[in-house]
Amino acid sequence: MPYRLIKYGLSSKHPDKRMFTEPSGLKESYDAVIIGAGGHGLAAAYYLARDYGITNVAVLEKSYIGAGGTGRNTAIIRSNYLTPEGVKFYDESIRLFKDLSNDFDLNLFYSERGHFTLAHSDSSIRTMRWRAEVNKHMGVDSEYVEPEDVKAACPPIDLTCGGDAPIMGALYHPPGAIARHDAVAWGYGAGADERGVEIHQGTEVTGIDVKNDRVVGVRTNRGYVKAPRVLSAVAGWTPSITDMIGLRTPLTVRPLQACVTEPLKPFLDKIIVSGSLHVYVSQSSRGELVMGGSTDPYELNSMRSTLEFAEGLSGHMLDLFPFLSNVKILRVWAGLCDMTPDFAPIMGRTPVEGFYIDAGWGTWGFKATPVSGKTMAQTVATDREPELIHAFRLSRFENLVLTGEKGAASVGH
């Protein structure tokens, strides 16, 4: 039995100290303010403090730690993207992810399960091979495989999908993993907190003050704070923040819904994704099937869930796994996705000096948590974007140089 558990057994009192210090009041000014205590915001705070010694930082969260996309996503981590820029970026994220449990001394249950993206048409076969080729070129373990290989790795799957849209091939990505999403935010939060960063929950930003195109401070429901540097890391809530300083972006917001079943004995080892069937599924270490689909069919900034989602998802799940008819869906929820036209994020500096943006995380934000934190910390600390995120600048739209993560328009999470 691990030592830590023995410690619990032997100590009469619960031995763990607070991960987050008691809430205090806001200071008058900070070197930097980060809006949003989700994974991205807290990761940026963590690396600002750890790598740049910038600790006079306030993370302002209108709700609670990890209340947004961090606690609502389906915790899939992969780097088998389409563009070299995307592949490099997400691969760095995976590299960082692997060390986090040790960095934090907190078990994120980072679990490499292997990730299949199924193709049901010759056009998606082409996209899968395209991704595989780019991935391999960038040194990412990723291969186009045949239906038999899918069956071998995931015996319960019905390759015919009920005869309707047979599986014709797949992109296999062995490093594809899942992790405890909440713990990622908690780990970064605790690490930042430990280094002196203040995390203020229940603190809503109501305005941002700009003087001659430079950020000077932030207004909140708990008072005004001066800050020369402000990072917005609020994903689905970004447009409300950028509107405060009149910054125009291509972001539109749609709900993305997900659900879990009752716990089942483990039968699904792999992460299975089907763009054309709008399904992605993995089985958690608790035994629940964690499932999601594609974003809602129209823009909406509210996290209501719909029956249509549960109906559609169930139908498609049963196309893949017909024997799950009697398995019950326990809980359905939604998160908000800030979508970009090219399915790549928006990161870096903005026309407003001192205001930095980390957005456009659509359905792919969780897997980028560590690398976005690291690169945005560098951007905020040095006021220069690292090469790794050049392709994600906001200016790419005005310059008509998009990043094409959408490729031939294929979906995946």
Partner: protein, 1000 residues
């Protein structure tokens, strides 16, 4: 050994229908009407399940699907909630989540180790050293889960219906029945649902509490039955509330009705809540309402000698009912200092039951042998409601019933957007602001006395009817005041114990101390406790744990319950099987009129959206590749026929038809002569290629525009939208389904067609790119001379109902010259030899016309087209870059700004790895491009293809393609078209074909 009580009025079991079943391999009998749990309990079984984390012994607790102590598996049926699932003949039941059976469950080791597995333990361990984690993880994953699935099980299909009602009433207790009756009598169409097998709610079990209640029940049922407007559905769960009063009604067997209601009355009652004390999860410890249901519905004695834990009048009703059922009531332990003042209290004392006021059950202890309760440790409470262990004493018993309070069953209210507030008088959440069209009545509304519930139901029913415009006449009864007198719920029935095991959430084995520790670690809000301690995360979704959980967090944070807030109530109220949600799950399929012929000829189909298209026609003696080459050859040397009916086809007519086409397409069409066609390319506002096709001018104001199979619906939508925005006088009609279409192609096509049409096919009368209207095989047809496959060819469009006739006639006429049908794959190869682009295959989500070598189709000098402005910017930037001498033009994957589609041919002789579509072009270890199309051309005796390459690659220059397995093969940039470069053949010229034959 327990046994059935004497037959009692209103019992739910049918004693004439005994049912045999087995549990954990042992045979038992019960009666029809029993639930699995009641049948097991009456058979003397007390250990019915094991808990999720510690594998602690568990028995009946809420007996209402508010906990999952008793979850069983019946062969392939998993996670059956035994408390509420009807007993059936021949069920072979096993408890879920045990290791080696329920009794000897090895998992209970975890219980011994509990102190080593505190809250969030899995976050704190197993990750060091990292290399050991996979090993721990395997163990943890194995321990996870409840029931198991059986992969060879077939899919079960449920029907799924839409439903409509003026008023939906949820809950058929006294207030629900009254609401349904009142709404129905007011003239509203009412649907009344209840998850129980029979209507009546509390009236079917709480005899002591509402004496003479069944008279009331009978009256209510009479009223409901009398009303033709009321439809009652038993065993039906209102599983959630979605936008616009959209409520899925779920029935185990009948599946789901998606009910749209004009208004909804939520009369779901209240869920009894447990007290928290050491070992409160032990078999034999149960809620008072559970004990009563056992007695009154199933004639089952809950235990022989019981202690009644009390904090409200209900407890005294329970005590009386227990006595009547022949249970010895060892003591009533009342948490309240001044006990029960109502007559019920008196009645209990008169019955000689010992009542301890201001006391609590401090601990439950197991019987010497066995896993159930053996005695209750009772301790007095000080004025702060803290137990005084030093003065504790024990009372022997085999059961403890808890009646300490209720939680409003308000899930639907919360989901519908009603605001709930915590009433400090009632110590429960009650609706303070109702959403539009939502009404609450009964205990969910804080109304507890039977007669009050009926009045409250009447009121809600009439209001709900009025909301949909019925029963204006009926006068609305006055507001029914919330429960007067002592609160039905105790504010804090939570009693700590140094040895722990005081459970708040039984699903997840969440103890009181776990919540304390979560907060100590800084997870100091209800939301974070919910996530960190997994409070309320289990299969019963906090039904028995959220209320106490919130109270505990509030107490520890020294906040009010109101300030502490609630845990968001998410769908579904009870979990719903995926098969029920999926229902029939329709899979639409589109077929052309010739589909049957394709099947007969052994076509191998491929899907294009909903469409079925023949990829090629399988021939017995030839493989796929050969069959396709045969089809290609037939078109090049003779004549072939392909079904192109899935093509998009748009009719554009009216005075502004031309103007519309000019604005939608990149080319110029003003000078297009009537009777002629021209290639049409469409871009979006970003200048990205979205679709292409052929535009035929049938008259000055009448055009026929083809588009891609997958693109046409979006194109049609956009065109009709722009017609509105631009105020054009033009009609666009989507004829993609109305017209069948086939392409007759090959040097002999004219010969074949001429035999069956009134059209003059001579070169001058019907030139290349011409369009004519006439008859083909007697069917009115539009015929276009197109060159997609690079041979003399006629695309014949006829009304769909004549499609098969025309197809058969052409085929018949072609027999003499060996006509051959060809499929999509052959067509792709034929067009590749011509270097024609397929939008969506040779282009991607960012491709502009120049990149696709289609600059010739783009007219930047015309007034306007969608995307023109962006393309002008791109052109300008291109020129600027040109002047800058084109530095910084490194190609990065497909994100280049100066890539171009180029034709290429492989230069290897003989065998070698064959590149595939989307393989990458590589130079100096860098990606310089990507293959978009590639195939073997028999005509040229080469493997040819199209690839995105740097724009400056000249014909004759070489590059390499990385194939599967990494081998690089050499390719040379060659001029397109590869085949018949000056297009003389499709223009009808009779140039000789040089046909290489042979294979790569």
């Amino acid at each position: 050994m327990a046994e059935r009580l004497a037959p009692r009025r209103g019992e739910w079991i049918d004693r004439n229908r005994p049912l045999e079943f087995s549990f954990e391999g042992k045979k038992h009998t019960g009666f029809a009407g029993d639930t699995i749990s009641s049948a097991l309990w009456v058979s003397g079984r007390r250990l019915l399940g094991r808990s999720f984390k510690y594998h602690r012994p568990r028995g009946i607790f809420s007996f209402a699907d508010h906990d999952v102590n008793v979850m069983v598996q019946d062969r392939s049926l998993l996670n059956i909630r035994a408390d509420v699932t009807p007993l059936e003949e021949g069920q072979k039941l096993r408890a879920v989540n045990t290791v080696g059976g329920l009794k000897m469950d090895l998992g209970q080791l975890n219980n011994r180790l509990a102190r080593f597995l505190p809250v969030g333990f899995y976050y704190k361990s197993f990750h060091k050293p990292a290399k050991l984690f996979p090993y721990y993880e395997r163990l943890i994953r194995k321990a996870a889960g409840l029931g198991y699935v059986t992969p060879d099980e077939e899919r079960r299909h449920w029907g799924k219906a839409y439903g409509f009602a003026d008023v939906l009433v949820v809950g058929a207790g006294p207030s629900g029945l009254a609401a349904a009756a009142a709404a129905g009598e007011a003239g509203a169409k009412v649907v009344l649902v209840d998850e129980n097998a029979r209507p009546g709610g509390t009236l079917t079990y709480a005899e002591g509490a509402n004496g003479g209640a069944d008279g009331m029940l009978a009256d209510l049922l009479r009223r409901v039955e009398a009303s033709p407007n009321v439809e009652y559905r038993a065993e039906t769960v209102a599983s959630a509330h979605f936008e616009e009063h959209w409520v899925p009604l779920v029935h185990r067997e009948d599946g789901m009705t998606k009910m749209r209601a004009g208004s909804v009355v939520v009369a779901g009652g209240a869920m009894e809540q447990p007290a928290v004390f050491r070992n409160n999860d032990m078999p034999g410890v149960m809620l008072g309402s559970a004990a009563l249901r056992l007695i009154h519905r199933y004639a089952v004695k809950p235990f022989d000698k019981g202690v009644v834990l009390a904090a409200n009048s209900d407890a005294y009703g329970v005590a009386l009912d227990l006595l009547r059922a022949g249970v010895e009531v060892a003591a009533v332990v009342d948490l309240r200092q001044d006990g029960e003042e109502s007559d019920l209290g008196g009645a209990v004392r008169e019955a000689g039951v010992r009542v301890y006021t201001g006391h609590c059950v401090y601990e439950a202890r197991a019987a010497k042998k066995g896993l159930g309760v053996g005695e209750a440790i009772i301790a007095p409470l000080d004025v702060q409601n803290n137990p005084i262990p030093s003065r504790a004493f024990e009372v022997g018993c085999d059961g403890i019933s808890m009646s300490v309070g209720w939680a409003a069953n308000a899930a639907l209210l919360a989901q519908s957007g009603c605001r709930l507030g915590y009433s400090e008088d009632l110590h429960q959440f009650v609706p303070v602001e109702l959403a539009d069209g939502i009404f609450a009545s009964g205990r969910v509304n804080g109304v507890y006395r039977a007669e009050d519930k009926v009045r409250d139901g009447e009121r809600a029913g009439i209001l709900a009817a009025r909301h949909v415009g019925e029963g204006k006449a009926a006068d609305v009864p006055a507001e029914v005041p919330r429960h007067p007198g002592p609160a039905p719920s105790h504010p804090y029935p939570v009693y700590d114990h140094p040895k722990g095991m005081a459970f708040v959430d039984l699903d997840e084995d969440v103890q009181l101390k776990d919540i304390k520790n979560s907060i100590q670690e800084g997870f100091d809000s209800i939301a974070l406790v919910n996530r960190f301690a997994t409070l309320g995360m289990g299969p019963s979704q906090g039904k028995h744990s959220n209320t106490n959980g919130i109270r505990i967090v509030a107490r520890l944070m020294t906040k009010t319950v109101e300030e502490t807030g609630t845990i968001t109530s998410r769908p579904f109220f009870h979990p719903v099987p995926m098969g029920v949600l999926a229902g029939r799950s329709f899979h639409p399929a589109r077929r052309t009129p010739m589909h049957r012929r394709h099947e007969e000829r052994g076509a191998v189909f491929m899907r294009a959206g909903d469409w079925f298209r023949p990829e090629y026609y399988a021939t017995p003696d030839r493989g796929r590749e050969d069959a396709i080459l045969d089809e290609v050859r037939a078109v090049r040397l003779g004549v072939g026929l392909i079904d192109v009916g899935t093509l998009g086809k748009l009719e554009v007519a009216g005075p502004n038809a031309l103007e519309l086409i000019e604005r939608i397409c990149t080319g110029k069409f003003a000078k297009l002569k009537v009777g002629m066609t021209r290639y049409a390319l469409m871009t979006d506002e970003a200048g990205t290629i979205t679709d292409d096709g052929v535009c035929a001018r049938l008259s000055d104001e009448h055009f026929y525009l083809t588009a891609t199979t997958s693109g046409v619906d979006a194109l049609y939508r956009e065109m009709t939208r722009w017609v509105k925005v631009w105020g054009l006088d033009a009609e666009v009609t989507n004829y993609s389904n109305a017209f069948a279409a086939m392409n007759l192609a090959g040097p002999l096509s004219r010969e074949v067609l001429s035999s069956m049409t009134d059209l003059d096919l001579s070169e001058d009368a019907f030139p290349y790119l011409g369009v004519r209207e006439g008859r083909v095989a007697g069917v009115p047809a539009r015929v276009m001379r197109v060159g997609f496959v690079g041979e003399l060819g006629y695309e014949v469009h006829v009304p769909a109902d004549g499609g098969l006739h025309a197809w058969d006639a052409i085929t018949e006429a072609g027999k003499a010259v060996g006509i051959r049908w060809f499929g999509v794959e052959a067509q792709r190869r034929l067009r590749l030899e011509k270097g024609h682009v397929i939008v969506g295959q040779d282009t991607d989500g960012l491709t502009n016309p120049w990149e696709a070598n289609m600059g010739w189709a783009v007219k930047l000098d015309k007034p306007f087209f969608i995307g023109q402005r962006t393309l002008k910017i791109l052109e300008k930037r291109g020129q600027e870059e040109e002047q800058r001498g084109g530095e910084d033009r490194r190609l990065i994957g497909q994100r280049t700004q100066d890539r171009k589609l180029a034709g290429f041919a492989l230069v290897y002789g003989g065998e070698g790895p064959r590149p595939k579509e989307c393989h990458l072009a590589i130079e100096d270890g860098e990606i310089i491009g990507r293959v978009t199309s590639i195939a073997y051309s028999e005509a040229l005796g080469k493997v040819i293809g199209l690839a995105f390459l740097p724009a400056d690659r000249a014909v004759g220059s070489c590059f390499q393609i990385r194939t599967d397995g990494g081998a690089l093969v050499d390719a040379e940039v060659v001029k397109v078209p590869f085949y018949d470069p000056d297009n003389s053949r499709q223009k009808g010229g009779q140039r000789e074909v040089t046909y290489q034959g042979g294979k790569a």
